[in-house]
Amino acid sequence: MSSRSRLSIVAKDVVRVIDGRRILDGVSLEIREGEFFSLLGPSGCGKTTLLRCIAGFDRPDGGTLELDGVDLARVPTHRRDLNMVFQSYALFPHLDVFENVAFGLRLAGSSSIPEKVREALDLVSLAGAERRKPATLSGGEQQRVALARAIVTRPKALLLDEPLGALDLKLRKGLQVELRRIQSMLGMTFLYVTHDQDEALSMSDRIAVMDGGKVRQIGTPDAVYRRPADEFVARFVGAVNIVDREGRRVVVRPESVRLTESSDIVGAVDSVSYFGARSLLRVAVGDATWLVELPGAVGRSVHAGARVALAVDWNEAWPLPEGAS
């Protein structure tokens, strides 16, 4: 457990200003060695800019970035022991799969290149594709090659910029599981940028939720989901009801609400969305709309227009901190 406490990437008060806009507005993070850490936020929140600053493609205007305790300010991109996986893959079109993966090894003058390449391709389940050109591969395969190319040199950390963003849903789900498997096998630090909260929740050890160039909350997926620091985080990470209770703003996730015989929360069903395993109800209660998640079969028996009573499991509710926006 002692290695867990060693720090890999550290950002202190990082500021980046582009055209007068503060894209990064004092971001501080401490990412531990071997951690799967996600930067989650809407587009334009600064997560990609932070990643590019760490990789060395962009320069912060203020603050410091460290990798394994070394200040990165004067280290050019090609000397940073970090590799990036791009959303657009960025495979070298003139090189085949083998040579793409071997690229970093060759530059480093590494020994036993064929073995290392084969091992990396095995890891991403692409053994046998060595002599194919990137243009003949599917999007998912290209991203596997990009991943193999990035991990084969065993960098101190891997930076992943929405690597699954260009793939379709089914492929994405499969690769999410695989990425996580590869990460824990290698024990490598992964810094993962995404705007997809499901992805961040299911894969990460810890998540930093960002908005407007600032970090809103850092925590485990469970903490971010069940104990959001503010309303933005609560709304961005999953569906939510925010209600006033005893003078406090309280976060109630839809799955903490169920139908009951009678209660003081009564309303008319506005719509029912059926997802198979579960159903999502929108219930109009006075001026407010409640989101209620039910097991699929239960939801199917409810019809729009029906009057229902709602029971809330207040033990699962989370009061927002006073003064948080």
Binding site: H78, A90, G104
Partner: protein, 247 residues
């Protein structure tokens, strides 16, 4: 759609009569006694060598001048890029003879007219756009973030350029070189106007052979050599550069 195949007949017939046939007739002339004599003569091959050298020098000069230009254009913001591209391409559509004439008037005060330098400069000037366009298309097509990915994997800026950017744009480089080399090899108006008697190339030899009326067979032989070199280059080019379109 397939029943429109017969539409090919008129154009193919035209090209058979006015392209394939004349090339064949010219080739047969080259294989006459006088033609074979010319083909065996070292003067002919010296001229072919000189023309090839001039074409090669011009091609390299165009490549060296054109690559930074194509690179720079591809990095420009959309609006400016259109304008600069237009400025590069426009002279390419302007009459070559007129442009050569313009160069004559420009170079004359410097006293370099009627030299090899003037001839090569004129050829460079005339065919540079042929180089820039394919280069630009190739650089434009590079996947985004390619240079960053290479730097990220440990390549220095020079390594990024020579190990990734140049090889990845090789199809454009080859296309540009073919597009410059072939016409320059057969050029005759430009070297004659700018290089005078000094810049005597294969094209001038052909012109002289036919228009002075003396020894057209030798001219046919030279034409055949140029055609052979061209076809060889095109064949090689097609092997390297498998394209989907007609070109």
């Amino acid at each position: 759609m397939n029943d429109r195949r017969w539409w090919l007949f008129p154009p193919i017939a035209w090209l058979s009569v006015f392209l394939a046939l004349p090339v064949a007739v010219t080739a047969s002339k080259a294989f006459s006694t006088a033609g074979l004599e010319a083909l065996a003569s070292p003067t002919t091959w010296r001229l072919v060598g000189v023309s090839t050298l001039v074409a090669a020098v011009t091609t390299v000069a165009c490549l060296l001048a054109g690559y930074p230009v194509a690179w720079c254009i591809s990095r420009m913001p959309e609006r400016r890029r259109r304008w600069v591209l237009f400025l590069v391409v426009l002279p390419f559509w302007a009459n070559l003879l007129v442009r050569t004439y313009a160069l004559m008037t420009m170079l004359r005060p410097f006293g370099v007219l009627d030299t090899w330098f003037a001839a090569v400069f004129g050829l460079w000037h005339g065919w540079l756009p042929f180089m820039v366009l394919p280069l630009y298309n190739a650089i434009e097509k590079l996947p985004p973030r390619l240079a960053e990915a290479a730097a990220d994997l440990g390549a220095t800026p020079a390594q990024v350029f020579f190990k990734v950017v140049v090889p990845a744009t090789m199809p454009g480089i080859v296309a540009g070189c073919v597009l410059v080399f072939i016409p320059v090899l057969g050029a005759f108006a430009t070297p004659e106007m700018l290089g005078g008697a000094q810049a005597f190339m294969a094209g001038s030899r052909i012109q002289l052979a036919f228009l002075s009326g003396r020894n057209p067979e030798a001219g046919a032989a030279m034409t055949l050599v140029l055609t052979a070199i061209t076809l060889l280059l095109l064949w090689g080019y097609r092997r390297v550069h498998r394209s989907e379109g007609l070109l």
